[in-house]
Point group: none
DNA sequence: CCTGCTTGTCCATAATCTTAAACACTCGAG
DNA sequence: CTCGAGTGTTTAAGATTATGGACAAGCAGG
């Protein structure tokens, strides 16, 4: 048995903030079983393990796919964001290292007068964001609007869209889109 | 027990062309156990299932990740390739539907009648490619197909596979595999 | 028709897993 | 300190799984 089922289960349970008894209650098994499994003193039957994981909840596939040796990074320092932009437009990607991302989260910064260009952008998915500094002119479909700090947007990315810094100081946006384009 | 472990195991075993006894011998368990598991008359312990899958070989993660109801596409017609390029650069993506790809690309060429030999190849990872000239007979798991120029393939390398030039002229393939085996 | 080899299934028993209950420990409140 | 409620662990007994062997069916060759 090369796979340490016990350590996996314990790691998952503690990650979810559950006690053995609480997990056992949710799963419909006894707390003793959880204890024994976590100590690798028994190799649970697939049906038992499934019952236990249902209490998390988590699928068997997820359980065995989980890579405990390289836990996914949760927090990212400022310089851990990956810069995708240029001198005028800074696009700093969150969790670029993560392989199976569902979201692209960007910290965007536009110099005065800068923007995404005259060409309208069109791609799949949806995107949204919040302006945190400066004034941004956002054009989506036929309509345009200037957004200031605290204001936000959300639209289907199939609609032609364009960003432009409409002020005299740099502006910043936190944006998110799915599926990942970077 | 919502997951049909028995059917999965049987499907995998037959795909690999193994009898219950042969798999049992490789796995170091009894053939009776294989039979009982496949009939879902027992829910094997994780350690037993691991032993059985080691005889294939296949990991627990792969076993539970396998989607039998919607098998991953193996063959792609010319128009099933997804174009990712533009007017200047054409990028036609193979198996765009499949998430989490990590590929290395090869340009392969087989002389008339040549191939990878009679032995089926089995290794870890995934591989795919495009035929650009000639005709190639590709056998993957139980199924075989002759692919011509513009057609493509993509499959998990754990499935026994074999390439053979099925035509009278040399054939060429642009292929990709992961992790790099050569 | 046999013989020999293969296949998958089934059964009694041995081995293992699961339960229920008790145990020891920690922590905070009274 | 003492109590209560929480934690994880342990153990014996009951439930389930795994084994080793027997069984019937299918197939190829003599």
């Amino acid at each position: 048995m090369s796979i340490d089922v016990g350590a996996r289960l314990r790691g998952i349970r503690t990650t979810f903030g559950l006690s053995q008894r609480e997990l056992a209650r949710r799963a419909g098994v006894t707390n003793g079983l959880i204890s024994l499994i976590e100590q690798n003193r028994v190799s649970p039957s697939v049906s038992s393990l499934k019952k236990v994981l249902d209490g998390v909840p988590m699928s068997l596939a997820e359980f065995f796919t989980l890579d405990l040796s390289a836990p996914l990074q949760t927090f990212f320092a400022r310089d851990e964001l990956v810069e995708l932009g240029n001198a005028q437009v800074s696009l700093r990607l969150v969790a670029a290292q993560r392989s199976a991302r569902q979201l692209t989260i960007l910290h965007e910064r536009y110099a005065a007068g800068a923007g995404t260009g005259d060409e309208m952008i069109v791609h799949r998915g949806e995107e949204g964001g919040v302006v945190i500094r400066g004034r941004v002119e956002l054009t989506v479909g036929g309509s345009a609007r200037v957004l200031g700090p605290g204001e936000a947007y959300y639209f289907a990315s199939q609609l032609p869209h364009r960003f432009r810094n409409a002020g005299r100081e740099p502006c910043e946006i936190i944006s998110a889109s799915t599926p990942p384009s970077f």
